[in-house]
């Protein structure tokens, strides 16, 4: 699969080898993720598509260190993350991964700025909270509490909070799922901007096939496997997405 950025082991940020997750449901077992081999390169923007129940979230949670695999391996750079204990996984999330979820998960008792500071206070080389909020276009809303912000604004705070630590990996599970198209596009713009300016490797799960146009690569899941991977020859700006 020759493509650019170069498909070279040195630029491989994330790699999985037969990554598998099964759930025991009584006498039967549900295979949520079935021996997935995958690699993402530094600076890539990847969109993940697939029907409901195809294993997208499971995959993201495993490579983000939120969950433990049943078998197979996953590496972040040259660190194997499968098999790590809770403490090491926590350290991995803390230092290297940013998450954005469908339901923002902001702390209601903290203002936008304080929600971001929550992370910068414990990160190694964070940017200033104000800088992160500025990147997502919320410089003038910094002292608002989540209850005083719209859904799209809350999601952008969540993005600012995720990128403020300058993570190598940004994982987004349906970040626009709860937003209308106009607000969703603003959020996508924020994500592509971060990817472009900071080179953060970004994986975005979506049900919205229209979003595929903004990715370097599009990964499609089906039945716990990767059904196809496409490279976008002609990548579009987020602003041009319509749905």
């Amino acid at each position: 699969m020759p493509n650019e950025p170069a498909d070279d082991a040195r630029t491989q940020l994330l790699r999985t080898d037969k990554l598998t997750k099964t759930y025991a449901m009584g006498s039967t077992t549900v295979v949520a993720l079935d021996a997935v081999d995958f690699a993402a390169h530094a600076g890539e923007f990847i969109v993940i598509l697939g029907p409901s129940g195809s294993g997208k979230s499971t995959f993201l949670n495993l490579v983000g260190g939120l969950d433990m695999a049943t078998s197979g391996q996953a590496w972040f750079r040259d660190q194997q993350i499968t098999g790590l204990g809770d403490a090491a996984l926590t350290r991995y999330r803390r230092n290297s991964v940013g998450f954005v979820f469908q339901f923002y998960n902001l702390v209601p008792s903290l203002t936008a700025r304080e929600n971001v500071k929550l992370v910068t206070e414990i990160a190694k080389t964070p940017m200033r909270a104000e800088e992160a909020l500025d990147m997502v276009g919320l410089a003038d809303r910094m002292d608002h509490f989540p209850a005083q912000l719209s859904g799209g604004e809350q999601q952008r705070v969540a993005i600012a909070r995720a990128i403020a630590k300058r993570p190598d990996l940004l994982l987004c599970d349906e970040p626009t799922g709860a937003l209308d198209s106009k607000t969703g596009i603003v959020v996508l713009e924020a994500l592509t901007k971060v990817n472009a300016e900071m080179g953060t490797t970004t994986l975005v799960i979506t049900h919205n096939a229209a979003i595929r146009t903004i990715a370097h690569r599009v990964v499609s899941f089906a039945d716990g496997r990767i059904a196809s991977i496409e490279r976008n020859a002609d990548r579009q700006a987020a602003a041009s997405v319509r749905w």
Binding site: D67, N105, V107, P108, S109, E114, V119, I122, A147
Partner: protein, 787 residues
């Protein structure tokens, strides 16, 4: 079972730990109510019934010797229902196999005792044959302590002559429910007892034929005790009357009264504290439960359940908790009340003393607890009942936090954001936070209010036995003897030093207030015993004038420089004004002191003394005891070490058991408050905590959110609890102080430290239990769902 009932039981099962924590606090309230009021009722009712059945007298007097014909004159006094004249004498006794000499109170038994007052209750054996000159009946506690049985022998020195008595029965009597040797504070089970012998025996031995020296009077209902006492005093004065007194000053009755007073003050303070905390916990838990079930409530209303039935559903939930708490509390209270009553039965001789199981008490305990629970639930239930179905179905508005601290503190110190979360969360629910702080403060207060007494008793022991009454033993003569008797004692084997004293029974008064006490006369140079004031500064015995203990001065409402009237109960019996020179401290009984010579002048009797305080060479103690037994005329010896032991034993039985109970109960409050508070806090913030874990916060860091809340609550509660505890302790001093016994109000820093330690430990334990739930937070499940 209806669907709502099924929901009810599922809810109970899911919240079982919180339910149990609340139920335990309620149980503590029920139990203390039962212990306090139940034991009070048991003692009070048993006492009343016993007094009634055995005709306990209302007024008492002693004389030197009065002819029995005077009894008819007494019976003729207005308001007198019945009169009983007896012979009553203190005597030394020699118990087989016991080195230390004992003393007994000999009381005459009339031939025909049907008319008499203070009738015996025969526990076993029989009464002496009127003609059986060597037969006697003995008091139960004394008999048990010495293993006496029918047929046991007891040597008693009557008027200088030793007599062998055969014990034919064991008995109790309402005037010696609590039997202490004259002049002592704590009962000395094996060394003092009451022995009843036929009247003819005592009359012969003490030359009192056709006469009596102790009289008891029972009053007609509604008769004035005061007037009868005045008439009695006038009537008995020519016969050496020592002043009549009512039940309030009858030793046995007064001890029981002070015990009852303590029980009452306990049952007034503790149950309300527990019920208050329980109501608060119910309110807090139910409010959260209803907030979580908004949608269900909306749904139920939408499908046609009435507001009333929804409200009742939650009331039932609370009543179920209350029923659980009441059940535990009743079991606990009945058991502990029974145990406490059993303890009392060891000190107080009643024919039967069983824990009162009056249904009314159980009903009251159950009823108040139910009421407290429902009251606590009221606000939350009303909110649930009023929730319109449409509102209930839509998710609650996100909690609107305000930036309360930023303006004031934000600029000064940049708080860690986790601490910002903690402070905002606490301030967001100000009433709940305040309730938690008050609940914990109450638990600190209960601890301070009970633990201080350990130090108080230690202080009292140190004060009495190490600092003031430093003699090894006291020898009390029977009656008075010339001063030379002190030298005789000094020559006894093992006696290192001897200091004489004179104890003079007097009626001391100021204005309308009078009390019967003994003034102790001591040489100014006495060094074995000394007097101290409240600040432990030595107070010298003045040449003339009187030293009063603070408690007596308070009762008489006098101070240094004031004049009090003193009427000796023997000798001249002339009332005399004496000035109070200074006050001294004294925790046991009411006391007054004078210089020996000055006291002797008061009765114009010359150089008479009542006994000596001695220091004893412990190696020679046995020889001393042997000599004292051989020469009973020397009097009765009481060892300070034995007195101290008795004191500690009695205290340990009563006070320490009570303190142990209170410490556990305070622990239950602290645990219950913190546990419920944490569970609710976790339920509200679980989502945020899971989010923080996703963001890379460690388990320890996330737990800080909860533990910090608990810490803030606990720390805020300490100073408040100390202040409340100080008040409780002060109230206890007042509540427990009687004329027999006052507690020194000393409360050291260790009391506060220890109380705080107990509460903090309980808080920490419940915090750590809830923390385990944080460790099990499911990050992924939380992220899948909308709040």
């Amino acid at each position: 079972m209806s669907a709502l009932h099924i929901k009810l039981f599922r809810e109970m099962r899911r919240l079982w730990a919180q339910v149990l924590a609340i139920a335990l606090v309620m149980a503590a309230g029920v139990a203390t109510l039962l212990i306090g009021v139940g034991t009070y009722q048991s003692l009070d009712q048993t006492r009343n019934a016993y007094y009634q059945a055995n005709r306990f007298a209302d007024v008492f007097a002693t004389v030197t010797r009065a002819p029995r014909s005077v009894l008819q004159d007494i019976a003729d006094i207005d308001g007198v229902l019945a009169v009983d004249g007896r012979i009553s004498k203190i005597a030394l006794a020699d118990i087989e196999g016991v080195e230390e000499p004992a003393s007994v109170l000999l009381v005459s038994l009339a031939e025909d005792s049907v008319q008499g007052l203070n009738r015996l209750y025969l526990r076993s054996g029989r009464l002496p044959e009127p003609s059986g000159a060597t037969e006697a009946v003995v008091s139960e506690i004394f008999a048990e302590a010495n293993g006496f049985r029918a047929g046991s022998q007891l040597k008693v020195v009557m008027n200088g002559a030793q007599r062998q008595l055969t014990l034919v029965g064991v008995a109790l009597s309402p005037d010696y429910v609590y039997a202490v040797a004259p002049g002592e504070i704590m009962p000395n089970e094996g060394r003092f007892g009451v022995v009843w012998v036929p009247e003819s025996v005592l009359a012969g031995a003490y030359d009192l034929s056709g006469a009596f020296n102790a009289v008891s009077v029972r009053l007609l209902p509604g008769a004035s005790e005061r007037e009868v006492i005045a008439r009695l005093d006038r009537l008995l004065a020519p016969f050496g009357g020592q002043g009549a007194y009512g039940r309030a000053q009858q030793t046995s009755h007064a001890y029981l009264d002070s015990e009852l007073m303590q029980l009452q003050s306990m049952s007034r303070v503790l149950p309300p504290v527990f019920l208050l905390v329980a109501a608060f916990l119910v309110n807090m838990t139910l409010t959260r439960l209803i907030a979580l079930e908004r949608e269900q409530i909306g749904l139920l209303k939408a499908i046609g359940y009435s507001a009333w039935s929804i409200g009742w559903h939650y009331v039932e939930f609370v009543l179920l908790i209350a029923v659980l708490g009441i059940a535990i509390g009743l079991a606990l209270g009945t058991w502990a009340g029974g145990a406490l009553t059993e303890l009392y039965a060891r000190f107080y001789s009643f024919p039967v003393l069983v824990f009162s199981r009056e249904p009314s008490l159980y009903l009251i305990a159950g009823g108040t607890t139910m009421a407290a629970a429902v009251l606590g639930a009221l606000r939350a239930v009303r909110a649930a009942a009023r929730l319109p179905p449409a509102v209930a179905m839509s998710p609650p508005a996100p909690p609107a936090y305000r930036n309360l601290l930023a303006g004031r503190f934000g600029l000064v110190i940049e708080l860690r954001k986790t601490w910002v979360m903690v402070s905002r969360h606490l301030l967001h629910w100000p009433w709940r936070t305040a309730g938690g702080v008050i609940g914990l403060a109450l638990s600190v207060a209960v601890l301070v209010g009970s633990l201080w007494s350990v130090g108080g008793v230690d202080y009292m022991i140190d004060y009495t036995f190490n600092r003031t009454e430093r003699q090894d033993a006291t020898i009390n003569f029977l009656g008075t003897r010339p001063a030379s008797a002190a030298q005789a004692v000094e020559r006894l084997p093992g006696v290192l030093a001897a200091e004489p004293f004179r104890a003079l029974g007097v009626e001391i008064g100021s204005g309308h207030v009078t009390r019967r006490i003994a003034i102790i006369g001591r040489p100014a140079a006495a060094s074995l015993t000394r007097l101290l004031d409240t600040n432990l500064t030595r107070v010298d015995i003045p040449e003339s004038g009187l030293l009063l203990t603070r408690s007596l001065a308070d009762i008489l409402r006098v101070g240094p420089g004031d004049i009090v009237n003193i009427r000796p109960l023997e000798g001249t019996r002339q009332s005399r004004p004496v000035h109070v020179s200074a006050l001294v401290e004294g925790y046991l009984g009411l006391g007054a002191y004078m210089e020996l010579g000055a006291l002797q002048d008061l009765v114009a009797e010359g150089d008479q003394i009542s006994g000596v305080n001695v220091s004893v060479d412990t190696l020679m103690q046995d020889a001393l005891f042997a000599r004292l037994k051989q020469t009973p005329s020397l009097g009765q010896i009481s060892m300070q070490t034995v007195a101290l032991q008795q004191f500690r034993a009695t205290m340990a039985q009563n006070l320490y058991v009570m303190i142990g109970v209170l410490v556990s109960l305070a622990g239950i409050i602290a645990f219950g408050v913190v546990y419920n508070f944490s569970r609710i806090s976790l339920s509200e913030q679980g989502r945020e905590m899971a989010s923080l874990r996703v963001l890379g916060f460690t388990r320890a860091e996330v737990s800080t959110l909860l533990l910090a809340e608990i810490a803030v609550l606990t720390l805020l509660a300490q100073p408040l609890g100390w202040a409340l505890g100080f008040l409780v302790a002060f109230g206890m001093v007042e509540g427990f102080s009687s004329e027999i016994f006052t507690m020194p109000f000393v409360i050291g820093p260790e009391v506060f430290a220890y109380s705080s330690l107990v509460v903090m430990t309980a808080a920490l334990v419940s915090g750590l239990i809830v923390r385990r739930r944080i460790d099990r937070l499911d990050m992924i499940a939380v992220l899948k769902t909308r709040e």
